[in-house]
């Protein structure tokens, strides 16, 4: 294949056609039973079956994915799908891959083939699924930590809960590499959020050449930046800065990265479904753990320990947040041994609703 010339490209291009219609992508058994499914059953942590009113069945094998996928490896998956799934495949909303077939006997074969390709089955039912995450040092300018590396290190450690061991309920892990929080990190059972901790430094001499002052001022979401006419540069109000790094995006002489101080916070107890209790935001559990690549052992063991405490202490069907709310946050800190710091106490706009306004609490 050779690159299209400009002219070829212009001739060929179409616009505003949108994606292909989904109906072209559906396995026939789905097209036939669309909207007429009756129930499903989990078979193993990596497989389930859905049964239609017609009696038709569809078996799903779900396999792990690192989300960053090389085309060559996707092709390997497509080959499996061709072999066992009539040439259809899908991805889930949490970046797992699903192989579907009406033939029960294919289930173990798919599993085996996928595992051979490096993608183990799991993620179904009351356990861990894939860890939603973002770009990190692989692609994003603002990242205060890597994304994929932390996910890999964590998932290696808690892997048994993905493919074998069960938890009280589905448990959603997630990671965001900065406070922009791409993904639904803010409502996860346990999430890792990368944070900067220091106000950016400014190389004032370069600002005048490299930056547009109004753009730089405008980039700050908290209005912490104002022009500094004397220096022909900008200044940052440290009280207002929450270390987001947006200024650095538009003005390279501003530097937010600080290898010694960047790191991650761990938040817990969020969920998005409305089952039992409503959707919940995750709340701060550990305000800071320093970046320690390549395997971030402190973060890994903190996440593991929270999961283990939950696994031991929660009731069946109770999500992490439901468990913590039943026992109370004061018990959460006691049971996990996590230290409670000033950072845990909200000082943001909505602090008021988090302060305890009751004489009833646990020691």
């Amino acid at each position: 294949m050779a690159w299209l010339t400009d002219q070829e490209a212009k001739a060929k291009r179409k616009t505003d056609i949108g994606p292909p219609h989904y109906s072209k992508m559906l396995p026939p058994v789905i097209t036939k039973n669309y909207g007429k499914w009756k129930y499903h059953e989990e078979l193993t942590p990596g497989s389930m079956v859905h049964v239609a009113e017609s009696g038709d069945k569809i078996y799903t094998v779900r396999v792990a994915s690192p989300r960053i996928l090389a085309t060559a490896n996707i092709r390997a998956m497509l080959d499996i799908a061709d072999k066992y799934c009539d040439g259809y495949i899908r991805w889930t909303t949490r970046n797992n891959v699903e192989f579907m077939t009406s033939k029960e006997e294919n289930v173990p074969l798919i599993k085996k083939a996928a595992e051979a390709a490096g993608y183990p089955a799991g993620g179904i039912g009351a356990g861990l699924s894939n860890m939603v995450h973002t770009q990190g040092w692989v692609h994003c300018h603002g990242a205060a930590s890597d994304a994929s590396g932390l996910v890999k290190a964590i998932m290696d450690e808690v892997f048994p809960y993905f493919n074998e061991k069960r938890l009280p309920a589905k448990t959603r892990l997630a990671l965001a590499c900065c406070v922009n929080m791409c993904g639904a990190v803010h409502c996860s059972d346990i999430a890792v959020v990368a944070i900067h901790r220091k106000v950016p430094t400014i190389d004032h001499d370069s600002v005048k050449n490299l930056c547009e002052i109004p753009t730089t001022v405008g980039a700050c979401p908290t209005r912490a930046i104002s022009p500094d006419p004397a220096k022909k540069s900008v200044k940052i109000n440290a009280d207002k800065c929450m270390y987001c790094g947006n200024c650095f995006t538009v003005c390279p002489p501003i530097n937010i990265h600080n290898p010694e101080q960047d790191g991650v916070a761990i938040v817990v107890g969020g969920k998005v479904g409305s089952l039992r209790t409503g959707p919940k935001f995750s709340k701060l559990a550990i305000p800071y753990i320093k970046n320690n690549p390549p395997r971030w052992p402190e973060v890994v063991s903190a996440v593991k320990s929270i999961i283990d405490t939950y696994a031991k202490d929660a009731r069946k069907h109770e999500r992490v947040g439901e468990w913590v709310e039943r026992i109370g946050w004061e018990s959460f800190f006691k049971k996990t041994g996590i230290e409670f710091t000033y950072q845990h106490i909200d000082d943001f706009t909505f602090a008021r609703d988090t302060f305890r306004t009751s004489a009833a609490f646990k020691w």
């Binding site: 690159w3 070829e8 056609i17 989904y22 072209k24 990242a143 890597d146 290696d156 993904g183």
Partner: protein, 395 residues
């Protein structure tokens, strides 16, 4: 074609979870871009910091979005990532693929880009990770001529996404994939040509379980629901009990409204007090089934924390029918956009504007009456406002 020693990243090839390092290395066997990505990443691991500059505006002719510009801050050291833009390809609703269809994209991407992807991005797009500015136009021509298009970025309608809904789930009250596709197609112009104060996202879930996390990350969350009873198959209830389910503990006591009862034989539901939370149904899928009228609740406003803290979406329309071509829903959404466009400062999401201007202003603009379903509880303070038109009635 190994170009760099990567002792730190190599550590991340170990262990049972699939390794992204292996993926990059795989791509690197064919792509210099992927190779330099690996090298720069190793350096990031060593120095504990990223080495990317921001984007600048790159894209394809006539579109304002769909591509995220990205440049290395070390282009001399890692020329392969000097440009390393991402291309967002709008996924088909539900993220099902015919293998051939997907192979087309993979082939093109090997030609024009790094051979690395994200399947998928957090919003839902297929993300093609890393290409040069000059590759964008020809890549787009190739892709679009084969029936694919770009997704959204910038202050635009972002690529809508949905749970797989009726395609494989027994609980979908609405046809999520059709709604998702229909919105994507109807509003192509809004997807491709950013013209709004900020981004706007749709996510569509078939029921309150919300397998696409719509309530947490969509300016407009469409969540399927029903008006009617939960049909109970008492024989199957007995099967569950026999199979060892503790129905009292697991179902009745966990029902948030306390509207269930079980005497060891019969499971009863006081449907008027059920909040349709989906707990019991999801745990006893063979025995319980919603019946009656199907439709959706429309919730508005969720977003990530910057600047005012994260928002979850708020119930605005407790119930609306969702039948193709979704005329009523579309008219509603268009009224929302108009109000938002009129009232937002730049970079203000619709939820933030509702918070600033008050729910009344928004509801009046879209013609939806106040209803107790919109709030958890009424206001606490006595500082409520009166418009002239209220003062004559008892409003």
């Amino acid at each position: 074609m190994k170009k760099y020693e990567t002792p730190l990243l190599d550590e991340l090839e170990k262990g049972p979870w699939p390794s992204f390092v292996k993926e990059i290395k795989t791509a690197a066997t064919k792509s210099e871009m992927a190779n330099d990505e690996l090298g720069q990443l190793e350096k990031s691991y060593r120095d504990k910091r990223g080495y990317w500059k921001h984007g600048g505006i790159v894209g394809v002719l006539g579109y304002g979005g769909g591509v995220i510009g990205r440049y290395s801050s070390l282009p001399e050291e890692f020329p392969g990532v000097a440009h390393f833009h991402t291309v967002r390809i709008n996924q088909p609703s539900g993220m099902y693929y015919k293998t051939d269809s997907l192979r087309t994209i993979l082939d093109l991407w090997d030609e024009y880009g790094s051979g690395l992807t994200n399947m998928h991005g957090s919003t839902g797009d297929m993300v093609l990770l890393g290409c040069r500015t000059e590759a964008l136009e020809p890549l787009f021509a190739e892709v679009s001529s084969r029936g694919w298009d770009l997704g959204g970025s910038g202050s635009a309608l972002r690529t809508p996404a949905c749970c797989l809904g009726q395609s494989r789930c027994e609980w979908a009250n609405i046809d999520t994939m059709d709604i998702c596709n229909e919105l994507t197609q109807t509003y192509q112009d809004y997807v491709h040509r950013p013209a709004w104060p900020y981004k706007f996202k749709f996510k569509i879930a078939g029921c309150a379980i919300d397998c696409v996390a719509s309530i947490a990350r969509a300016d407009c969350s469409v969540i399927g629901t029903w008006k009617g009873k939960i049909a109970v198959d008492q024989d199957v209830v007995k099967d569950y009990a026999k199979a060892g389910m503790n129905i009292t503990e697991e179902i009745v006591n966990m029902c948030p409204t306390g509207c269930m009862s079980y005497d060891g034989k019969e499971l009863k539901i006081d449907d008027t007090n059920c909040s349709r939370c989906m707990h019991c149904i999801s745990k006893m899928t063979k025995a319980l089934r919603p019946t009656g009228e199907k439709g959706a609740s429309i919730l508005i406003g969720s977003k990530a924390p910057i600047v005012v803290g994260s928002l979850l979406s708020w119930v605005v329309v407790p119930f609306i029918k969702m039948e193709p071509p979704y005329t009523e829903f579309k008219a509603l959404v268009e009224k929302m956009w108009d109000w938002w466009d009129d009232n937002a400062k730049p970079r203000e999401r619709i939820g933030e504007v509702i918070e600033m201007k008050g729910m009344r202003s928004f509801l009046e603009a879209i013609g939806v009456p106040p209803q107790p379903q919109q709030v958890f509880e009424p206001r606490k303070d006595p500082f409520f406002f009166w418009k002239e038109e209220d003062l004559n009635g008892n409003k």
